[in-house]
């Protein structure tokens, strides 16, 4: 189905809120669409997409909606008696509980582990109606000590990652940087030098700006070739 998605990319129609996408009982409304009598009506601004009988609208903007299992990068916004409040850029704040920290901490000594303003790489382990809980008890998760952070719109994250990580892998390999993409749109780049990191950031911005194009991987290859350092 991914191949079919790729093919349709170029000729996708714009969806305007309130606009009728298609008429017919045989269609079903997907995300960002609703049924109004015979019609399927868009209720978000974005691109129309059809898969099977479902018609949906792919949003191009809007807030980050957290899902369980998402990898996110956030900033410590506050410290409470039993954990940290982390800002991940969604409408609600998220909470990192003390016992979700990888090692045992005395509860009066939270600040020496994570202070306000520190960046952390976490996983969402539970979403509630209001907000979410994070965990750090997994390999690779933890405080971010070095490297570079860049922020993009969370709706563009799938494009930066690419099909099964193909896009991010391409950028990683050619820039020799370690890149971690948070689902909330915060990206952590870690390379051997600032030049390498800027090179990787340039490539990511290139992908974001051209996220509507089909056959983007080839374009990115060209970009990486042209802007090669050394």
């Amino acid at each position: 189905m991914d191949e079919e998605k790729e093919k349709n990319e170029g000729k996708r129609q714009v969806a305007i809120p309130g606009e009728i996408i298609k008429t017919g009982k045989e269609y079903l409304p997907g995300d960002g669409a609703r049924r109004d009598g015979e019609n399927i009506v868009a209720c978000r601004f974005g691109l129309q997409d059809e898969y099977g009988r479902f018609l949906r609208v792919i949003p191009l903007s809007g807030p980050y909606i957290p899902r369980k299992g998402n990898l996110v990068i956030g900033k410590v916004a506050d410290i409470s008696f039993n954990g940290w409040i982390i800002d991940v850029g969604s409408p609600y704040t998220s909470f990192l509980m003390l016992n979700e920290y990888p090692k045992y901490i005395e509860s009066d000594d939270l600040e020496s582990y994570l202070a306000i303003g520190d960046l952390v790489l976490c996983k969402i382990h539970r979403t509630k109606r209001k907000g979410m809980d994070l965990t750090m008890k997994e390999r690779g998760l933890g405080k971010i000590e070095d490297g570079m952070i860049t922020t993009i719109n969370s709706n563009k994250v799938p494009r930066v990652i690419g099909k099964e990580g193909s896009m991010v892998k391409l950028i990683k390999d050619s820039t020799q940087c370690d890149i971690t993409v948070g689902q909330n749109g915060v990206i952590w780049i870690k390379g051997s030098s600032v030049e390498h990191e800027l090179y990787a950031r340039g490539a990511i911005n290139f992908v974001v700006e051209r996220s509507y194009l089909s056959g983007l991987t080839e374009e990115v290859k060209k970009y990486l070739e042209q802007n090669k350092i050394e």
């Binding site: 714009v14 305007i16 809120p17 309130g18 606009e19 009728i20 960002g32 609703r34 009506v41 209720c43 978000r44 601004f45 974005g46 691109l47 949003p59 191009l60 903007s61 809007g62 807030p63 409408p91 609600y92 704040t93 109606r129 209001k130 709706n155 700006e209 509507y212 194009l213």
Partner: protein, 236 residues
């Protein structure tokens, strides 16, 4: 003598030249500019974000909060900057005009902030403001049932005209001027707000609404055109 000729040579049912542009403020979550001739409105949307002060939170749905103001240089006589009785009232009206189409149930305890500034004013500022705000909300990715379109209808003496200017608003002869600002949903027949400033017989009001509906069709085309152009531009 009946009012038959408009000072700027427009037809009675013709709105001023309209322009719309999306994404004029890069730091906002959504933004748009909309103009009726000399009247220019810029809207910026921020959110949904947690509502503060907390006692204003609604645990069932998100809240829409609008701030409308005219910049001090927007009118010929300098306007004293800062909120006034008039701007607070119009802010509230814009909120009421927009909230029926917004679907904020997914975001309880949050607020969507809409800031609207009038950079140049020549009557119908609230209509330009609502049109700009609707576009900015769409760009911000807020779920909405429909777009809204706003237009002002004037009754000058006994004649109904679309999109009044300041000069027409001050018309004194005969029965004088009546200003009717209305906001309509774009894809169905519902009215989200209707204001009347002056006197009008019931039959003429019905006629005015009919005229407004026809006029909003054209304004809606401008709005849709701007939204489409925004995506097409990004595709290049």
């Amino acid at each position: 003598m009946a009012y038959t000729k408009r000072p700027d040579g427009r037809k009675l049912d013709e709105a001023r030249n309209m322009t719309a542009e999306i994404g004029v403020i890069p730091n906002a979550d959504g933004s748009a500019k909309f103009s009726f001739g000399d009247t220019i409105a810029i809207a910026a949307v921020y959110g949904p974000k947690t509502m503060h002060p907390q006692h204003k939170q609604n645990p069932q749905r998100g809240v829409l909060r609008c701030t409308y103001d005219m910049l001090s240089f927007s009118v010929t006589e300098r306007k004293r900057p800062g909120p006034s009785r008039r701007s607070q009232e119009i802010s509230k009206i814009i909120e009421w005009s927009l909230s029926p189409v917004l679907d904020l149930e997914e975001f309880p305890n949050t607020v969507v902030d809409v800031h609207i500034m009038i950079t140049q004013a020549n009557a119908s500022t609230r209509c330009a403001a609502i049109n700009a705000a609707a576009l900015a909300l769409a760009q911000a990715g807020i779920p909405m049932k429909d777009l809204v379109t706003s237009v002002s209808i004037g009754k000058l003496d006994k004649t109904l005209v679309v999109d009044v200017t300041k000069e027409e608003e001050d018309y004194k002869e005969g029965e004088g001027a009546t200003d009717i600002a209305m906001t309509l949903m774009s894809n169905n027949d519902e009215i989200t707000s209707l204001q009347l400033d002056g006197k009008i017989p019931p039959q003429a009001l019905k006629e005015a609404i009919r005229l407004g509906r026809a006029a909003t069709k054209k304004i809606h085309e401008v709005q849709v055109g701007a939204l489409k152009a925004y995506i097409e531009e990004n595709k290049k």
